[in-house]
Amino acid sequence: MKFFAAVGRTTLGLLGEIGRLSVFTIDAITSFVRPPIYWSLVLKQIMWIGYFSLPVVGITAFFTGGVLALQIYIGASRYGAEQFVPTVVLVGILRELGPVIAGLMVAGRVAAAIAAELGTMRVTEQIDALTTLATRPIKYLVVPRLMAAIISMPILVAIADSVGVFGGYFASTRSLGFTGSIYLNTTMNALTNEDIFSGLIKAVVFGFIIALLGCYSGFNSKGGAQGVGAATTNAVVTSSILILAANYILTNIFNFFNF
């Protein structure tokens, strides 16, 4: 009986959590369009979420592109298909690794920071204080972060795409004996709009997931320092899982529509 009770409790807990997250999401989205919109806070968050994530996203994208070229070369050379390395690197980075790597890095950096900041505000009653000062916490805290993440992520991913492809170029010309001009020509000829935009659409979704889960975890943190710590971990873990799951679903959808 204990086993069934435990299963039941976990299931109910999970369903309750999904319900609360849904209500929070709807609340956040409906607050999007209604004035006032705190533009100065949006700009501040774009600086924090987007601009300051540039180094970490750029560095990871460079190495990912490089290692992708090296590994694809190993596989492709078994069939004598080395000439496809630039194309596979391009598709791999633009459609998958650019958005996913950037998404996971920003999740680790930004979702954690948002959850820790809002969680501390929650446990020190600063969020309640906003309410008593006739300011809606969702509008003041959540909407600017969501907006900034949705705006920043595609830009970050576009940069990650370029740096990642450059990483592939770098590894291919230094270690694999490719000629630079041929590598670049092959890349440019293979490039399609679909490759670019499918990755950017993913970026928008990932940005939304990161900011939403950061805010949600922070808003619902309980207790003191320990609760804030748990909220931070929660934000990173759940947003990372949701990014990978959303990536799989989106890729399926794009494939279905031949996009």
């Binding site: 600063q126 204080a129 309410t131 008593t132 000062l133 300011t135 809606r136």
Partner: protein, 260 residues
């Protein structure tokens, strides 16, 4: 059943709130007449903070009604709720200052964000309110983390009164302060509120504070008001629960639950 209209500034009728199996408010009835200062006393964990959060709509009660100026505000939302909240100011137990902005912006916050006052004018009002709680202009430029607990409480008080609200809530205004600073805060509360016609609701377990700032005192126990009367009558309440509480005795009808 027709109910009498609420004539009090703030009134709670039969408010019930529970968290899971734990009943915190169990049919709470209380009314604060306009311009009066009511202090609710009670032990830790008796639901004093929950009561305040229900009035502000931060928590939603399962049953009962809450009236502000005779209007049922229990379930209002959107802009009607914004308008209702503009009548309130609140001093939080831990001051709850925004650590991301300097002191003066904390005080001016409700004016700038909540009421659309121009930044320059709000800044002047903020410094004027800071002066009212005995803090100079130099404090206004500091960050909340640079202030002592007593100073933070004073800034919190300045923020609560910044927009000249009709109703102010004080959540444990003297908790965690030394006796002298506690008295300074009590005096400031009396000075800043008396004679302005402001209605106040304070919750505390500090009886010195209650005697000083209250017109009337009520005692909350197990989610209900078990005694209410003028401040002068607190020593002759004839209520064994109140007597035990004000004399701070471990023995009596109130049994401390060691495990919540």
């Amino acid at each position: 059943m027709a109910r009498a209209a609420s004539t009090a500034k703030v009134e709670l009728r039969g408010v019930k709130k529970r968290f899971g199996p734990k009943v915190v408010l169990d049919g709470l009835d209380i009314a604060i007449p306009s311009g009066q200062s009511l202090v609710v006393i009670g032990g830790s964990g008796t639901g004093k903070s929950v009561m305040i959060k229900c009035v502000l709509g931060i928590l939603r009660p399962e049953a009962g009604e809450i009236y502000v100026d005779g209007k049922d505000v229990t379930r209002i939302r959107g802009s009607a709720r914004d308008a209702m909240l503009r009548k309130f100011g609140m001093l939080f137990q831990g001051a709850a200052l925004f650590d991301s902005m300097p002191v003066w912006e904390n005080v001016a916050f409700g004016l700038i964000q909540g009421r659309g006052v121009k930044r320059k004018k709000a800044r002047d009002i903020a410094f004027e309110k800071l002066a009212k709680v005995g803090l100079g202009a130099e404090v206004g430029q500091l960050w909340p983390a640079e202030l002592s607990g007593g100073m933070q409480k004073r800034v919190g008080l300045a923020r609560a009164i910044a927009a000249d609200p009709e109703i102010i809530f004080f959540d444990e205004p003297t908790t965690g302060l030394d006796p002298i600073m506690a008295d300074v805060i009590n005096n400031l509360i009396v000075d800043t509120v008396r004679g302005t016609g402001t209605t106040t609701l304070s919750i505390t377990h500090d009886l010195n504070s209650a005697r000083k700032i209250a017109d009337r005192i009520a005692m909350l126990y197990k989610g209900k008001i078990i005694w209410e009367g003028p401040t002068a009558e607190i020593d002759n309440s004839g209520n064994p629960y109140v007597d035990q509480f004000i004399h701070g005795r471990a023995e009596g009808p109130i049994k401390m639950e060691v495990r919540g």
